[in-house]
């Protein structure tokens, strides 16, 4: 039919369809140009650096570059018995070069990550290597320390040959590649990271549950009270929301300390003895209490904005049809608030899972989370590739939750205050 109708032309003689498409394209470009500055700014300063983290977490070029000749010579070594003279000579050559550049310390740190015991024998080798004679390096190196004659240590060096490695991710889950190349868990008493992951999940989960249990009644009250009262009560939610995180943490530190007000109160009502005040801070309790109060507004606000839209006549209808108030609430009101519950819970859970400041201040040793471990490796051990690996493991967890959030609520529906 369209072939029969004449094409509509604009005044310039261009078919309308073409002209419209052109205009559409122009508008698209215009809209994109407006977004472009921020988009490119974020891509350069934020998205690429996160990619850089990914690269760092698997990057293992350092040792590869420090011992180029050794790894070349090791290519035809089967790893069963001690390598032959060729490997030892190459290793000696690489090592002398490292000592000249004063980088043998870095090598020992790196190799020590792979196998404990490298630090001392590399130090010893540096001292002894000055008096080495030319030729027969195998004998000379092996005579420095008995570990240099142990094939396990040479296998450990060989394992560092590839430029990329997933061992930081394994370490984050308390696993490693053993001598036979199999992935195994570390001994029971050294599984610190698994404990941390589980604790992070546990604290985030219970903080979300507590927040939900506390937020639901007050969000309901705020949504049903007349405006003039609810506005006043809303301040109780919004003031903590706008107050500095550190201020709120500080107030919990004052409240929860052993000579603090909460303990004073417990002693006052005779709940605990004065000389037996419980520790409420620097443990999990501290993390729970402080994080729940700090994250509570993030649960109240989405719940409130959903409850506000539910007409009170629905509950009345439910009751008039014979439901008791409880039945009316459970069958009518509660299902309508589920989008708000989903939004609030996922928001609080995502925030809680990456919490750092509050657990570091009130959590003590038993209340710290995975974020604290990441910060510790960034600042104290300077094992940045491990920090990156754990960060990305956390991030992938968050992205899964975020994806769920998008499915349930949609990112466009995020509401602030």
């Amino acid at each position: 039919m369209s072939s029969e109708t004449k094409q509509i032309l604009t005044t310039d003689g261009i078919p309308l369809e073409v002209s419209l498409k052109k205009a559409e394209k122009k508008n698209k470009i215009k809209a994109f140009l407006l977004v472009a500055p921020l988009l490119f700014f974020l891509i350069i300063t934020y998205v690429f650096p996160i990619g850089d983290m990914l690269f760092r977490s698997v990057d293992d070029k350092m040792v590869t570059q420090m011992l180029p000749k050794t790894f070349k010579a090791m290519e035809n070594w089967d790893g069963q018995e001690l390598p032959d003279e060729e490997v030892f000579a190459a290793f000696h050559e690489d090592f002398i070069k490292l000592v000249e550049d004063k980088r043998e310390g870095k090598l020992s740190t790196q190799l020590n990550y792979t196998k404990n015991g490298f630090k001392s024998i590399i130090k010893k080798l540096r001292r002894k290597s000055k008096s080495f004679e030319e030729g027969n390096y195998k004998e000379q190196i092996m005579s420095v320390h008995k570990r240099w004659a142990d094939v396990e240590y040479w296998r450990a060096i060989q394992r560092r040959a590839p430029e990329f490695t997933g061992q930081k991710y394994l370490k984050g889950m308390d696993m490693y590649v053993n001598e036979e190349g199999k992935i195994v868990s570390v001994e029971e008493d050294r599984r610190i990271h698994r404990v941390l992951w589980l604790r992070t999940l546990e604290i985030a989960f219970f903080v979300t549950v507590f927040c939900f249990l506390m937020a639901y009644p007050i969000a309901h009250l705020l949504a049903t009270l007349p405006m003039k009262y609810s506005n006043l009560l809303m301040i109780c939610v919004l003031l903590p929301f706008w107050t500095s995180l550190l201020v709120r943490t500080a107030s919990w530190m004052i409240l929860l300390q052993q000579q603090g007000i909460v303990n004073d109160f417990f002693v006052g009502i005779g709940l605990v003895a004065d000389d037996n005040r419980p520790e409420m801070m620097y443990n999990k309790t501290g993390s729970y209490v402080a994080m729940t109060q700090i994250l509570l507004p993030f649960m109240v606000l989405p719940l409130y904005s959903v409850m506000k839209t539910i007409s009170p006549s629905l509950m009345r209808a439910g009751k008039s049809l014979g439901g008791t108030p409880f039945v009316a609430f459970w069958k009518v009101y509660f299902p309508l608030t589920i989008p708000g519950i989903g939004a609030g819970c996922l928001l609080v859970f995502i925030l809680a899972i990456g919490y750092y400041i509050t657990p570091a201040l009130v959590g003590g040793a038993s209340g710290t989370l995975i974020s604290n471990q990441i910060a510790f490796h960034m600042k104290s051990t300077l094992d940045w590739s491990f920090a990156s690996a754990m960060g990305l493991m956390l991030l992938s967890g968050v992205l899964v939750i975020y994806w769920l959030y998008n499915k349930i609520v949609g990112i466009d529906n995020i509401k602030l205050g």
Partner: protein
């Protein structure tokens, strides 16, 4: 919430239990903030109420810690406050400009790949701060901007823009685009239209986004901890150090000032929100 007269007794009891629970939760939310006020006027060096304070003895109260905050010789609060304000102001300006312009593009119905781009733009808000901190630190270290004000300002722009984008897109969602078309048909160029028509109408959203960006920057500690050198110390960093080492009443004096500041910001944000809802015709 008066109950109707015919309410049965057990529902009446349940209703009062419900109100008590609500009161307890509100108390839990707001009470911790009010502990800080009286203790910051403590004449003693302890962080609990002295006997004098319980008797409301005037001698037990003093401005000692406020004086210490302002005049204390070793106290870095002056430098920290200056840095915090400078960084927050520039970060806010940057976030507001970039975020508003991007929101204008995003709310155009011609925008391609809207969902994907929106996800990238608000990602700094979703990604846990510690990860953002690590990533931004790697970038700034490479760019040679670690331990500089510029580096921290840029970092805070990254963290602040999502709030501006969200609030301004929300404001624009109720925006009547025929007014800009009317302006264009009357011969106004796009920049002029934006300045004279669009901006005044979306201003409440822009300002409340700006307030979020300001608070985010002013209160931010995780990323700054990675980036800041001694010269770039900010109020949150000083508080963090103080809280880790030794809780001194001076910190409470600072905290009181911060609570007053956040009250002011809350009032401004609330007024703006109401004005914005009025302008968008949402009557409640």
């Amino acid at each position: 919430m008066a109950l109707p007269k015919y309410t049965e007794p057990h529902y009446r009891i349940w209703h009062y239990i419900y109100l008590t629970i609500c009161a307890a939760v509100f108390f839990f939310l707001i009470a911790p903030l009010f502990v800080i006020f009286p203790l910051s006027f403590n004449a003693e060096e302890f962080l609990s109420f002295s006997d004098g304070m319980k008797r409301l003895d005037p001698d037990a109260f003093s401005l000692r810690w406020y004086k210490d905050m302002i005049y204390g010789t070793k106290n870095p609060w002056g430098l920290a406050a200056k840095n915090s304000f400078i960084i927050a102001i520039f970060a806010t300006i940057g976030s507001v400009i970039l975020g508003t312009v991007a929101a204008l593009g995003l709310s155009s119905r011609h925008m391609p790949y809207k969902g994907l781009i929106m996800a990238v733009l608000i990602s700094p808000m979703i990604v846990p701060l510690i990860i953002s901190g690590v990533a931004i630190f790697f970038f700034m270290a490479k760019a040679g901007l670690a331990a500089t004000h510029t580096g921290i300002v840029l970092a805070h722009i990254i963290l602040g823009t999502p709030f501006v984008v969200i609030t301004v897109t929300a404001t624009l969602s109720g925006f009547d685009h025929s007014v800009t078309r009317a302006a264009a048909s009357l011969g106004s160029d796009p920049v002029n239209t934006f300045m004279k028509i669009t901006l005044p109408l979306i201003l409440p959203g822009v300002i409340s986004g700006g307030l979020f960006a300001f608070v985010t920057s002013f209160d931010e500690v995780v990323v700054v901890l990675f980036l800041a050198g001694l010269e770039n110390t900010t109020i949150p960093i000083q508080m963090w150090t103080g809280l880790r080492e030794q809780l001194s009443p001076t910190i409470l004096a600072v905290a009181t000032c911060l609570i007053i500041l956040s009250t002011l910001i809350l009032v401004t944000a609330e007024l703006l929100r109401r004005r914005s809802e009025r302008l968008r015709g949402i009557n409640r």
